[in-house]
Symmetry: C2
DNA sequence: TCATCAATTCGATAGTTATCGAAATGTCGA
DNA sequence: TCGACATTTCGATAACTATCGAATTGATGA
């Protein structure tokens, strides 16, 4: 039997994290600078330029780059290059997955 | 105007965490051993003896003691001494407070 | 009191990480 | 192509932490 295809309702996908990801996210959240950066980033739905982040935090380019990489490896942010510039976006679905996971494992 | 006092419904108190506590909890959760210990502990509503935890994890007494202290400093567990023995309990309300806080700060 | 046992603290070591200056990479506009 | 600029990578250092054996503390029972 056939059904006509219909546009599916957009479904928020429920990521499942590996054990390793859970630990990487924990680590990412455990550093004060990264936590602050992430908090700031989460206020900017459309993303934030690298240089804007730098302006907020009195931090060297090298150190910022290091922290952004940690956040990216953990999956909590995504970076987008536009020419010379890089913008960072929070990946909310990863945070959600982390919260669900903590609740499931420990709650 | 007066009302007769009635037994209050037990209210789960909503802890508010300091910035420092948030980071300590993150750190506590970022170590694989501590995460496993906490997971195991959360399966035992009534608490778990130190020696039982040791049996689960092939870990030296010194190292276990170190990790339990980290978890306690973070506020995630509570230790109760009964004579020679120590039992550990998960403080669920701290975990809840942590989850709420992440949601509020980053969600 | 004393020997014993559970747990913690001490001391040392190996591995990790935050930090930043300097060098490198990559992109844009002239 | 070239110079300027944004970001990353490299290299080095200081601080932190996980680990464990040894020494210590504290409590029990004999």
């Amino acid at each position: 039997m056939h059904h006509a295809k219909i546009d599916p309702m957009p479904v928020a996908k429920q990521l499942a994290l590996t054990e390793e990801q859970v630990l990487l996210i924990g680590k990412a959240l455990a550093d004060p600078r990264r936590y602050e950066i992430l908090k700031r980033l989460s206020d900017h739905e459309r993303g934030m330029e690298c240089s804007s982040v730098r302006d907020c935090f009195d931090i060297s380019p090298a150190t910022l780059s290091h922290h952004m990489k940690e956040l990216e490896v953990a999956g909590l942010v995504q970076s987008v290059r536009k020419g010379k510039f890089v913008s960072y976006l929070v990946r909310r679905e990863m945070l959600d997955a982390y919260l669900r996971r903590l609740q499931a494992d420990l709650g």
